[in-house]
């Protein structure tokens, strides 16, 4: 969990707010972090994204052009072939109707010879017939017996009467297989008209023309204007089925468009309206195969973009965290240094004041002491002194108070003045155990547990043994005072910094309020307990500072207090 937390902390600004001083805006560093992240992300990701999308669209266009151009060419070619097929047959019928007399066409034998010649010269003809103005089939050559059949009421007959020429959609008719007809009228000299009508086989169209599209991913077919298939389709069903895609808009040239089917799949549609016919040539290509390379390239591009964005964001997050954390740490160091300067200056002032006060008090104390002593001497030397014990009792009370004041002034001087240190090599672990040994009896009496947590390697340090003993005795005494019966004291001795050894003494006692913590190292500051002069921790602070160390305290009311003393390995 610790590793996971460390990883998360190295990328996200989770602990920024916890580290700033209470009077500072806890969101300041998060805002800075956000600004750094967004700015860096913007300038690094935007060009990447823009370039990737430019590449994407360029590649896409190239691939599409490579695919659309062949479709366009194929559709145009097929359109030309189909148009030629229909035009050729229409033209030949037109030539026949102009060249041959009505009487010749009404002659069954001549029509049979003509039909045979037509079939031999042009493929696709199924039958040929002449219909009079009343719609009656006069002559007919073909596989069915249609002579005498009346077409008067049929739609195509009405159309050809009106327009002069007619190309039908594909239909089954009497023949029961798909075909279409070309019919045209010709006026006769005696007045009136007749119709020359030929039936053409759609199979020939499909076989010879539409089979040009032979790729498995493509389909070529004909539809009418309503979207009904005029030929079989590989994708959309058989002749006379209605296709499920929209009929393309009218155009007089070949068009190629990209479309999506009802399942959202892309297809490329090449289409062309066949002139003077109801047919629309459709060339549908499903681009999966052709686009395979494009999709592969596109996926590579998207992967590259995604992975790049992910890595860049990771680096940005880590970098922003690293940067802001360093700024935060620098600010904290700066604030701590300022605090230390203020505190040291304050302590020095207090020290000078204390020394002055101690000196000025010592003289009157001495006078009180000597006068009291003199009185005592006089009483002792005077025979028959009335009630000497009562006087001696009061004099002793005076000298005891003087002694008490004297202890305080001496301690004050000890706090204020620099005392020569005796530097020697010290095993901190041994020294701490020695100090705790002084309090062994009290610990046993009060059932206090003392646990040690000592790093594997603790180097010896150069320092003053006596003063360090005083330091740790003061701290441990304080901890004992804070502990109830059955309390616990944890002593950690560590070597986390290369040139320092740290000793942390943690109790689970009453704890110290935040207000008291700010004054704890000041002389005469007490937590209101009955005994103690309030000088112990101020003296401790002075000694630790003089020995080149640091002392800090953390506490929470009801949880406990931890004092940490960090000492240099080498005395400077």
């Amino acid at each position: 969990m610790n590793i996971l937390r460390k990883i998360v902390l190295s990328f996200l600004p989770i602990s920024f707010g916890e580290q700033v001083a209470p009077e500072e805006d806890p969101g300041r560093y998060r805002k800075l972090w956000l600004r750094v992240v967004f700015l860096t992300a913007f300038v690094s990701l935007m060009p990447l994204i823009i370039m990737t999308f430019i590449n994407y669209y360029q590649y896409k266009r190239v691939f599409e052009e490579e695919m659309i151009y062949p479709i366009s060419r194929l559709t145009s070619n097929t359109r030309r072939s189909l148009s030629s097929f229909i035009d050729e047959r229409r033209s030949v019928l037109d030539m026949i109707i102009r060249d041959k007399k009505y009487e010749d066409l009404r002659n069954q034998e001549k029509l049979t010879i003509l039909f045979r010649n037509l079939k031999e010269s042009f493929g696709g003809f199924i039958d040929l017939g002449v219909i009079d103005a009343e719609g009656i089939q006069e002559t007919y050559v073909g596989p069915y017996e249609l002579r005498g059949k009346n077409y008067r009421e049929q739609g195509w007959f009405q159309d050809v009467r009106l327009r002069g020429i007619y190309v039908s959609e594909v239909f089954l008719g009497y023949r029961k297989y798909p075909h279409f007809v070309i019919a045209m009228t010709h006026e006769i000299d005696e007045g009136g008209f007749y119709v020359l009508r030929a039936t053409l086989d759609m199979e020939t169209v499909s076989r010879n023309i539409l089979s040009l599209s032979h790729r498995p991913s493509s389909d070529a077919f004909l539809i009418n204007r309503e979207g009904v298939l005029q030929t079989d389709s590989r994708f959309y069903g058989n002749t006379f089925d209605t296709i499920k895609i929209a009929v393309p808009p009218i155009s007089d040239k070949t068009e190629v468009v990209e479309r999506y089917d009802d399942k959202g799949r892309l297809y490329i549609l090449g289409y062309a309206y066949i002139n003077q016919s109801p047919f629309i040539l459709m060339e549908v290509t499903k681009p999966e195969e052709q686009m395979k390379n494009w999709f592969s390239l596109r996926n590579d591009l998207l992967w590259f973009l995604g992975v790049s964005i992910f890595l860049i964001i990771l680096v940005i997050l880590w970098g922003a965290n690293y940067l802001v954390r360093h700024i935060l740490e620098a600010d904290l160091r700066h604030a701590k240094a300022l605090h230390n300067i203020e505190y040291t200056s304050k302590m020095a002032s207090i020290g000078r004041l204390a020394a002055g006060v101690a000196h000025e008090i010592n003289n009157p104390l001495s006078i009180i002491n000597e006068n009291a002593g003199l009185l005592k001497d006089i009483i002792g030397a005077t025979r028959d002194f009335p009630r000497p014990e009562k006087f001696l009792k009061h004099i002793n009370a005076v000298t005891k108070s003087v002694e008490r004041c004297s202890t305080i002034t001496h301690r004050l001087l000890g706090f204020a003045k620099r005392i020569d240190t005796q530097i020697e090599t010290i095993d901190v672990k041994h020294l701490i155990q020695e100090v705790v040994g002084f309090l062994d009896k009290e610990a046993k009496h009060r059932n206090i547990t003392v646990d040690y947590h000592i790093d594997n390697y603790i180097p010896t340090i150069e320092s003053d043994r006596g003063q360090l003993q005083q330091v740790f005795l003061n701290i441990i005494n304080n901890s004992f005072d804070a502990l109830d019966e059955g309390g616990k004291l944890d002593i950690n001795i560590g070597h986390s910094e290369v040139d320092r050894v740290s000793v942390s003494i943690k109790d689970n006692g009453h704890g110290i309020s935040e207000h008291d913590l700010q004054h704890i190292f000041e002389p005469f500051f007490t937590s209101g307990k009955e005994h103690g002069t309030g000088l112990g921790l101020s003296i401790t602070y002075g000694i630790v500072q003089k020995l080149g160390g640091d002392i800090s305290v953390n506490s929470q009311v009801g949880v406990g207090t931890s004092f940490t003393v960090s000492l240099p390995i080498k005395n400077k």
């Binding site: 001495s366 009180i368 002593g373 020569d420």
Partner: protein, 121 residues
């Protein structure tokens, strides 16, 4: 055996005179002086076995007085005392020629003990 002669020098008159009186009661011949100048006058005419001098005094300070006494009365042993003394100052005083030093407020028994030691040196 003659009584030990002690001169106490402290600008606090109440202290030097009372302490002298106490020493008198303890069997010493003791006098008090309230300045270095007065002490110098006294030793011009009279020899003292022991001088107890306060380090911090207006005018001629205790350490200067000690140096002068050493020149005028080299046999006189000097014990220094101070209201704000430290071990460092005491050690320095001994280096400069004092027999010993005491920190105020002193205990009369300690003082007598040091006087006796100085006399027997």
């Amino acid at each position: 055996m003659s009584k030990t002669r002690v001169l106490l020098v402290d600008d606090e008159e109440d202290l030097s005179l009372v302490l002298a009186e106490r020493l008198e009661m303890k069997g010493f011949i003791a006098r008090g002086a309230v300045s270095s100048e007065e002490a110098l006058n006294l030793i011009e005419n009279e020899e003292y076995d022991i001088m107890i001098i306060d380090i911090k005094m207006p005018g001629i300070g205790g350490l200067d007085l000690m140096q002068r006494v050493k020149q005028i009365r080299p046999k006189t042993q000097i014990i220094l005392f101070t209201g704000h003394g430290t071990e460092k100052e005491g050690a320095a005083a001994i280096n400069d020629g004092a027999f010993d030093y005491l920190i105020k407020p002193i205990k009369i028994d300690d003082l007598i003990d040091k006087i006796n030691k100085a006399v027997n040196k």
